[in-house]
């Protein structure tokens, strides 16, 4: 294993695989804050050069956080198919990149290869990819999942209707749900972030959503994104839950700061299968996002892209129905510009797909980032083109509870139109029945929330 590289006569020495991975990452503020990124452009290229010649085995043998020390590492390594890994372990990262991009390599081939790749290997190969490389790779991979309906079918694009309200007012939440549905948004899930994280509040909100779904017979899923322990407690009391949610991070320390362990997730998964109200078999929903570990000071010297990949390594243990990043939610100390946001978005989409996950994307921004609506829309269009399963849907793109900006109901309708994509089939039939959609196009009536007049 050689950790030294030369670019036009200048030599660069790296002290570990972890160091190579960090310095080979595209420039992002979170890695600068952690003090682990490349200092010069040439050093970054030298790291990519060294990385391209490492074998998959070199990376496998040098986990960024030791197996004994971190349960996320243990989940990743224990989940690897050793037969597949052995078949590819002598390949270099550079060769893996070309294999992924090769015309002869199909999505099925990649599904097989992915079973032998650790999350660090997956992060490594995407560090050698430009934006169009990432799109070519992403388009090959498409993963379906089934809860009450099927998500991720080729030719479809789904949305999470996100009807958040600053005081969890049930009528306010319903008003935004109606607006979203009238634009065809909500086939992935109707998913509310509650203000108050306790069993009573959680149960109240999920019952409101659940009753609305039943009354209008909407083929979709419900979810209230409280802390996983709140959801477990509510499930035990018989709340009508379809999807159990949790935000994930890429280190054990950061997950402990989030207030859960692998055991907690194991329990939640088992309980959701045993006592949840959905058909399944996919009953979990996760959110991730580059930089949460650095903002919690739990990054352990690992770059934010590699840690993001480790979130997907953890997620695949639970065969989720949905998973999405929330790039840009944390703020400028992790992703500062629209360019950093776009790059992270595309990396995340490909890394999750290389974990065979049904990935969606929430490319978003806060008001203290150097990013605006144009950046968000560019990132959104690229990730739709690359075949994300779903995006968020928010009234006017403005989340009035979480105070950040994400994909709007209008953006949802637009992306389907410009890319010729359809809603999930069951949901499209329902939209037709409601007179919102016809032959895959919005009708004149679409956008009028008063059609849900009760």
């Amino acid at each position: 294993m050689i950790l030294k590289g030369k670019v036009y006569g200048t030599a660069y020495t790296f002290n570990s695989v972890r160091d190579v991975l960090a310095k080979a990452s595209e420039d992002k503020s979170g890695d600068r804050l952690a003090g682990i990124s490349a200092v010069t452009a040439a050093e970054r290229v030298a790291a990519k050069l060294v990385l391209s010649e490492l074998t998959l085995e070199d990376i496998y043998n040098n986990p960024v956080i030791p197996y004994e020390k971190d349960e996320v590492t243990r989940v990743i390594y224990d989940g690897i198919n050793t037969t597949v890994y052995r078949k590819y372990k002598n390949m270099t990262v550079g060769a893996l990149r070309e294999t992924i991009l090769d015309h002869e390599t199909t999505g099925n081939d990649l599904a097989n290869i992915s079973r032998g790749l650790t999350s660090e290997i997956i992060a490594a190969v995407t560090k050698l990819m430009s934006t169009l490389d990432l799109i070519v790779a992403a388009q090959k991979m498409r993963y379906q999942a089934h809860c009450n309906t099927t998500i991720g079918l080729p030719g479809t694009l789904a949305f999470r209707c996100q009807p958040n309200h600053p005081t969890d007012n049930p009528q306010g939440i319903l008003a935004s749900i109606k607006e979203g549905l009238s634009y065809g948004s909500g086939d992935a899930v109707i998913g509310v972030n509650p203000v108050e994280d306790n069993i009573e509040s959680y149960t109240r909100v999920i019952e409101v959503v659940s009753e609305f779904i039943d009354r209008w017979q909407i083929p979709t899923q419900n979810c209230v994104l409280a802390h996983v322990t709140t959801q477990i407690a509510a499930l035990e009391k018989g709340a009508p839950v379809h999807l159990v949610f949790q935000s994930l991070a890429g280190t054990q320390k950061a997950n402990e700061a989030f207030g859960f362990t692998v055991k907690t997730l194991d329990d939640a998964y088992e309980l959701a299968l045993r006592q949840g109200a959905a058909s399944g078999p996919n009953v979990m929903y996760f959110e991730t996002g580059q930089g949460s570990e650095v903002s919690l000071e739990c990054h352990e010297g690992v770059d934010q892209q590699t840690l993001e990949s480790r979130c997907y390594g953890l997620a695949r243990r639970y065969k989720p129905f949905m998973i999405n990043n929330v790039s840009g939610f944390i703020g400028p100390e992790t992703l500062y510009t629209g360019k950093e946001l776009t790059r992270a978005t595309m990396e995340d989409l490909v890394m999750a797909k290389l974990h065979a996950l049904p990935m969606g994307v929430a490319q978003c921004y806060t008001n203290h980032m150097k990013a605006d609506q144009n950046d968000q829309e560019v990132a959104n269009t690229l990730s739709a083109l690359a075949g994300a399963n779903f995006f968020m849907g928010i009234p006017g793109g403005d989340d009035v509870m979480l105070s950040y900006q994400d994909t709007s109901f209008h953006d949802n309708a637009t992306l389907r139109e410009i890319l010729n994509l359809r809603p999930c089939p069951e949901f499209e039939s329902w939209l037709e029945k409601m007179g919102i959609m016809e032959n895959g196009r919005l009708t004149k009536r679409a956008g009028d929330l008063s059609i849900f007049n009760d």
């Binding site: 935004s176 703020g331 500062y336 806060t366 008001n367 403005d398 929330l449 008063s450 007049n453």
Partner: protein
């Protein structure tokens, strides 16, 4: 007929007006745009001095012929979310787009513009800086915004009394607008409120540029103040760009954690108005001095 010279200046004037209308030239008042001509022909093109294009209220229903208009109005009343906005094809109506851009512009300017020197002069407070050197570093390196520069430590040591009961200071945080629109009323109200509570041993207030919340710990330790009050600009939302918070701490140390701080947020005209907040904070500070603790320990006794 306009001469060529007249025509040129007329074009310039109209361009300026359009820019001003779109908010690109916020400080250009229509009245200050030079008049080109006094002839009636030109007057029909030039707007009256006090006529402005403004955004319609956000409560307006923009759906084209909704089935139940009253229902839309009732639903809109239930949430501040941008619903009932209608569409142009799959996209926003023009008004919706402009509203969004206007809201984001307020937030961006609050984050990226400095508190003006003129404002600080008017307030009569001196300025120091953290270890942050520019706006980008302020946003991407929150750790540096928690530490004073060497010059700042010296300036504060020279200009401020030590061992005071209450030290108040202002920091830009993430919104210069929050400072400029609240501090002129909040600071005097707070000082008067403290005096009204019988607390007269109050330090000299000052302004910390590129400051974060945790900088108050270093300031408290440096001045050996019993209670430190930081008035800091909050991260702007899309609807509110000028909200300010007060972070109060009793005898901070290097080991201070977030739970040790008492926080009063949402101070602005649309939330807790600054004058009211000043009186409220004074009462709270009195309680903190009496309890000799702040944060969670104060509320849990």
């Amino acid at each position: 007929m306009a001469t060529e010279e007249n025509l040129e200046s007329m074009i310039v004037q109209n361009v300026l007006k359009e820019l001003a209308k779109n908010g690109f030239l916020q400080n250009v008042k229509t009245a200050s745009v030079p008049q080109v001509s006094e002839t009636p022909t030109h007057r029909s093109i030039v707007n009256d001095a006090d006529e402005y294009i403004e955004l319609p209220p956000i409560s307006e229903i923009l759906i084209h012929e909704p089935i139940h208009k009253e229902t839309v109005a009732a639903l809109k009343a239930m949430t501040p979310a941008r619903i009932g906005v209608g569409r142009a094809g799959p996209r926003y109506r023009t008004t919706t787009l402009l509203h969004y851009l206007a809201d984001h512009s307020q937030a961006q300017d609050a984050v990226f513009l400095d508190v003006s020197d003129e404002f600080l002069q008017r307030m009569g407070i001196f300025e120091v800086q953290t270890q942050v050197s520019d706006r980008e570093e302020h946003l991407t390196r929150p750790d540096l915004g928690c530490r004073l520069s060497r010059e700042a430590r010296e300036k504060i040591s020279v200009n401020c009394k030590k061992n005071v009961q209450v030290q108040v200071f202002v920091a830009d945080g993430l919104s210069s607008k929050a400072i400029e629109s609240n501090v002129a009323e909040l600071l005097p109200a707070l000082i008067q409120g403290l005096q009204g509570e019988g607390i007269t041993d109050i330090g000299t207030p000052f302004f910390v540029k590129y400051g974060r919340v945790r900088v108050e710990d270093e300031i408290g330790i440096l001045l050996n103040a019993e209670v430190v009050v930081e008035l800091v600009g909050e991260r702007p939302g899309l609807g509110t760009a000028n909200s300010l918070s007060a972070y109060i701490i009793y005898k901070p140390t290097e080991k201070t954690v977030e739970a040790d701080r008492t926080v009063v947020s949402n101070i602005h005209m649309g939330g807790t108005p600054p004058v009211e907040a000043g009186a409220f904070l004074a009462g709270l500070i009195k309680d903190i001095l009496k309890a000799k603790t702040s944060g969670i320990k104060l509320t849990t006794g």
